[in-house]
């Protein structure tokens, strides 16, 4: 007898949990959304959780997630959790439109929305699903799995709870950033939250989004998030994702960005927390003249594992893409970077730049890095590079030769290394906050 015969598949647990979940959501679904969820669950079950033999998951073993029985926290369990301070998570004095989600559920009493230009729809996705919003039905789950299909995306679609629904018609600007705070709080049983954001930005419109994942609890929980962004012609979208989960948390996320002609899109992703983390960032350049940036910083230590998979898909000519991922690893942390660049046959005059720089602060830290270029056009420029190293000894000596002691000099250089990605953050209070956070964390590494 083998264990596989006696041990139920990890997926079975989620099939059973889905029945409870459907009951919880009674009255807040439509036939369309029920069908969407059921199909996704079926897709998830057919594929099953990835194993390390899957090329896309070679360096990230998700068994710590699948071995645990996570389930969505019902809304009624939120009693009491919605109160309590969030002052640690308001990003300093940032003026924003803030939507707070506690253990997956929208929490209006902690949220703070400002007056917005006429015509903009901004609010809870779950509410718009419940009301049968046509825009939601037209766009939700249309793109999330297209570039890099993943069972976690299907799992999210089946179990998605809430998140931002944003629709900006053509030619409107939202001045203050939209701050999406996904907060995990202590719970009786291991919680799976499935945040889901749908963002539709019209032509010539502009918005700044901050996805922020944090925790007040130290128990084990699992965040499985999906964000879909559709940017119309000449739109400007700045996206930030701060992953500051607890160090006992599991976090999988997928961001899918569809861009039309002349869009300027920039995403900065900062990973500080989490025990096992996998981010998929996929950007499709579906028109000419697009400028797309995917930057990331991960700063990990102890037993943390962070895996960043990115795809830059140049589908049309004359687009520029920029990608810088920087990793600082201490302890016995494990990092993975996999950066794919597609240049489709049509995508002549593509200019794609990618780099992944890693700093290992200890002998036990490890990084697997892989740039992957698939180029089908002939008149393109693609550059990529990956470095793994220790601190520059010459720079260290230079600082010491000016009186700065060895530890401080090491701190200054490590911070400078990490700061490269942060300098691209345009939201001033956010950058200041992250700089302090990174500085504090480095001091402990």
């Amino acid at each position: 007898m083998t264990t596989s015969e006696t041990k139920p598949r990890a997926e079975e647990h989620y099939l059973a949990a889905f029945r409870d979940f459907q009951t919880q959501r009674a009255g807040r679904e439509t036939p369309w959304s029920r069908k969407l969820r059921a199909n996704a669950l079926q897709g998830f079950n057919a594929t099953g959780f990835p194993i390390v033999r899957d090329e896309e998951w070679k360096f990230t073993d998700v068994r710590p997630i699948t071995e645990r029985a996570f389930a969505p926290a019902p809304l009624h369990q939120l009693n009491g959790l919605a109160s309590g301070g969030i002052e640690d998570f308001t990003l300093g004095d940032l003026q924003s439109n803030r939507l707070v989600f506690v253990n997956g559920h929208y929490t209006p009493e902690l949220s703070q929305l400002q007056a917005l230009p006429q015509g903009i729809t901004l609010g809870s996705l779950a509410e718009h699903i419940a009301h049968g919003s046509e825009l939601v039905q037209e766009h939700l789950a249309r793109t999330a799995g297209t570039t890099a299909p993943s069972p976690f995306t299907e799992l999210n679609t089946a179990f998605m709870q809430d998140g931002l629904f944003l629709h900006i018609p053509n030619g409107l600007v939202i001045e203050d950033p939209i701050h999406l705070l996904f907060l995990s709080k202590a719970s009786a049983s291991p919680v799976m939250t499935s945040p889901r954001n749908l963002i539709l930005v019209g032509a010539n419109s502009q918005v700044t989004l901050i996805e922020h994942y944090a925790s007040t609890a130290r128990d084990e929980y699992f965040t499985n998030a999906v964000t879909e962004i559709v940017a119309g012609r000449n739109a400007v979208v700045d996206h930030y994702k701060l992953q500051m989960e607890s160090e006992t948390a599991f976090h999988v996320s997928t961001m899918q960005v569809q861009q039309e002609r002349d869009v300027r899109f920039a995403s900065h992703l900062v990973d500080l927390g989490g025990r096992l983390v996998r981010n998929n960032s996929n950007a499709v350049m579906g028109g000419e003249g697009i400028e797309c940036t995917l930057n990331g910083l991960f700063l990990i230590a102890g037993e943390q594992h962070v895996d960043n998979h990115t795809v830059m898909d140049h589908a049309r000519p004359h687009c520029n893409s920029f990608e810088v991922y920087t990793g600082v690893l201490g302890g016995s942390a494990r990092g993975v970077f996999n950066g794919k660049i597609f240049v489709r046959r049509d995508a002549q005059k593509t200019d794609a730049k990618q780099s992944n720089r890693n700093l290992l602060l200890s002998n036990d830290a490890l990084i697997n890095t892989k740039p992957q270029l698939e180029i089908f056009a002939d008149d393109v420029r693609c550059t990529h590079g990956a470095t793994i190293g220790q601190l520059d000894e010459d720079a260290l000596f230079y600082l010491r030769a000016r009186g700065i002691d060895k530890n401080t000099a090491r701190g200054i250089l490590t911070y400078a290394f990490a700061n490269d990605v942060m300098s691209g953050i345009k939201v001033e209070p956010l950058r200041a906050l992250l700089e302090r956070e990174v500085f504090t964390r480095l001091a402990r590494m």
Partner: protein, 254 residues
């Protein structure tokens, strides 16, 4: 005596570069150390600054009554030893002003002084940047990043002016400079010079000594000082070339 080097031997990767250096520098003096490529000039500067790749195998160095070789690089700097680098390293991401402030305050802390407040610090930058005719915009840039060769050298002298060392060692600061930049560097040293400090100019070319007049000139060859004299030695060397020294050595060996 500010600096006394006795029979200093040093190796890098097992190869002996310095083979018994003797040198005495008093406060108020300027010494020039000249010599052909590979003679050990830069190694001497690096050893004095505390570069760990160079292993001191014999000899001693006394600085201001203390054992210099026993001190970490940062301690030497705090005690007033400053080396202007031959090849200043670019440090992306480290803001120049932050760097200068950290350096200055580290040295002050070493002497039990308070950190300098921001306004005084800015005023000091203002004052010292005039001395080396350096554009103030450098403050917003990363240390040495994207600086031209001349800018890097001027920035070294600028740092020296900020830190006001007791012993300034200029490691080929004049190499690769146009005449205007050279004058700026020389003017910096001449302004900083006083009765309590000393400078050691490591140089390949006599040209620098037209602008900074040394009290002593030493010629280094194959890891030893083979000749010492006044400023006229530099001129003689310029006229006859380094082969003249090498010829001497061969004659001695024969």
């Amino acid at each position: 005596m500010l600096l006394e080097i006795k029979d200093l031997h040093a190796s890098v990767e097992g190869k002996e570069i310095l083979k018994g250096i003797n040198l005495a520098v008093n406060a108020g003096e300027i010494h020039a150390i000249m010599g052909p490529n590979g003679s050990g000039k830069s190694t001497l500067a690096q050893v004095l600054a505390g570069r760990e790749e160079y292993e001191v195998t014999a000899g001693e160095v006394t600085y201001d009554g203390k054992d210099l070789l026993d001190m970490a690089p940062e301690e030497r700097a705090a005690e007033g030893v400053f080396m202007a680098f031959q090849y200043p390293v670019e440090i992306p991401g480290v803001n120049t002003q932050v760097f200068l402030q950290a350096a200055l305050n580290a040295v002050r802390k070493h002497h039990g002084e308070e950190e300098m407040d921001a306004l005084d610090f800015l005023a000091l930058i203002e004052e010292k940047s005039k001395l080396v005719e350096i554009d103030k915009s450098f403050r917003r840039r990363s240390v040495n990043e994207g600086f031209s060769g001349g800018e890097k050298k001027r920035f070294e002298v600028f740092q020296m002016a900020m830190l006001e060392p007791k012993l300034g060692i200029l490691d080929e600061t004049d190499s690769g400079l146009d005449i205007d930049a050279l004058k700026v560097v020389a003017n910096g040293v001449n302004t900083l010079k006083n009765a309590d400090n000393a400078f050691v100019l490591v140089t390949h070319y006599q040209r620098l000594l037209d602008y900074i007049v040394p009290d002593f000139v030493h010629v280094l060859s194959d890891g030893r000082i083979v000749r010492s004299g006044g400023k006229e030695l530099a001129l003689e060397l310029e006229a006859k070339g380094y082969d003249w020294i090498k010829g001497d050595e061969q004659a001695e060996a024969a």
